[in-house]
């Protein structure tokens, strides 16, 4: 499967990454290289091998339902660009 330049631009847009034409072309070549590698791996016979959804073959550790985190909003908001009434302010978004 080969990607097109439009695919690259679309994915970049979805990820909110600005790429110009030259960069898009370079990224296209790199990504197609990755897909070639994937194609090579797909050629391996994996019949009878259970698919993994994670690189580590262990399962999720669960925590007890307890409140352990104190209120630190003053500390967190010290690095926020704009705060008012303890709210983070962002440029107006309306759906």
């Amino acid at each position: 499967m080969a990607l097109t330049l439009d695919d690259v631009k679309r994915v970049a847009h979805l990820a909110r990454i600005a790429v110009d034409e030259a960069e898009a072309q370079a990224v296209l070549d790199q990504l197609n290289g990755v897909f070639l590698l994937i194609a090579e791996m797909r050629a391996v016979d994996t019949r009878g091998v259970e698919p993994m959804s994670h690189a580590l073959d262990v399962t999720q550790r669960l925590r007890a339902d307890a409140v352990t985190e104190p209120d630190q909003h003053d500390l967190f908001q010290a690095v926020a660009p704009h705060v008012e009434d303890a709210l983070y302010l962002v440029p107006k978004v309306i759906e």
Partner: protein
Amino acid sequence: MKWETVIGIETHAQLSTKSKIFSGAATAFGAAPNTQACAVDIALPGVLPVANREAVAKAVRFGLAVGASINRRSIFARKNYFYPDLPKGYQISQYETPIVQGGALAIFVDGAEKIVRLTRAHLEEDAGKSLHEGFHDFTGIDLNRAGTPLLEIVSEPDLRSAQEAVAYARGLHALVRWIDICDGNMQEGSFRCDANVSVRPAGSDTLGTRSEIKNLNSFRFLERAIEFEVRRQIEIIEDGGTIVQETRLYDAGRDETRSMRTKEDAHDYRYFPDPDLLPLSVEQAWVEEIRSAMPELPQAKRSAFVALGLSPYQAGVLTASRELAEYSAAAFAGAAAPAELANWITGALSARLNDEGLDITASRITPAQLRALAARISDGTLSGKMAREVFDAVWAGEGDPDAIIAKRGLKQISDSSELEKICDEVIAGNARQVEDYRSGKDKAFNSLVGQVMKATRGKANPQQVSEILKRRLAG
């Protein structure tokens, strides 16, 4: 043309845990902004999520309650989109392998049972809240809600009317409260519904293009939004137009749905397994442990009530909440006529609770007191009218029904020889009415019954009085 409505519902039920699904921050409603948003919730670099065992247990509890299969292994996935109240730029959800798959919910519409199939239920985290009012050119972000555990419950498109959709939503709402996984508070957003609505020519088996109505936080809005949307879609199609698949918002003020301004790629969420979270494993032993701690479910309670002689309708009303069902079951224990008692619960008691804005758990008449009251009606001690008086007195805190009956001398005269004596006296003292009755004037008879009731100060059983009078006057 006749049209058929097809509806599927997605419900977000907030799981009632103390802490968030992937962090140890509190989930209490109404806290000051951002005081319950920790480093994980606001997505500071380097933090890692750790799943909350109780949230997983509650999802399993739901799965067991609807007869679904619980996936021994499920996967958390990232749902990617950009919005300021979603700090990570993705929501942790479940996509290909949710924790709960399948299952069904029985609903009742116009007395008939209908089975609504469920597609799945999966765990995910809630986003924060955007406050658009009050800031010039800015939006305020409160991340207290970010990371609150949600169970998204998805139904199959099995619902055929707004009424069925409401019955389903109510049934689901009652169930999540019953099994104690969600507080069901709709004002606070703990239980929110999205409705997928489409129409198709009656008899067709292909689905029409649907629109999704978002964030319906009351049953009334759900019903009205669907009714509006169905009318809108039929009008468009009948005018030769086509329905566009889109997300719409219900505007309660105008009682209409309107299109949300959406970007064409808004639905391309590029899900992939979250590398920060390992597969979620739910061992069979744990499932069995959760199963053994489950309360008796509404369906079972309903059947038990019907077996006691209640109508399916009565049984449905009394199992609307676990509290009401428990009250009813306590009242029925040892009762001679549970169906009659059920009428008192759905009638006088519910009306009184409603008038005073009280919950069944705050009832001023206990199940045992109500059972005693009903027993005194069944055994003929009390007339219906007297029973209301006793009910009021118990409610006012005057004691148990039997004590009130004794104190107020409310015993209905059921001794027939005593009643017959009074009837004879009335017949003797009302010669004209007796004559009128014998000459065919039925009204005169009612007047005689009235005289007997007056003479007994309302303590006679009117039916018994009329029987005696008829017998005496026939002779």
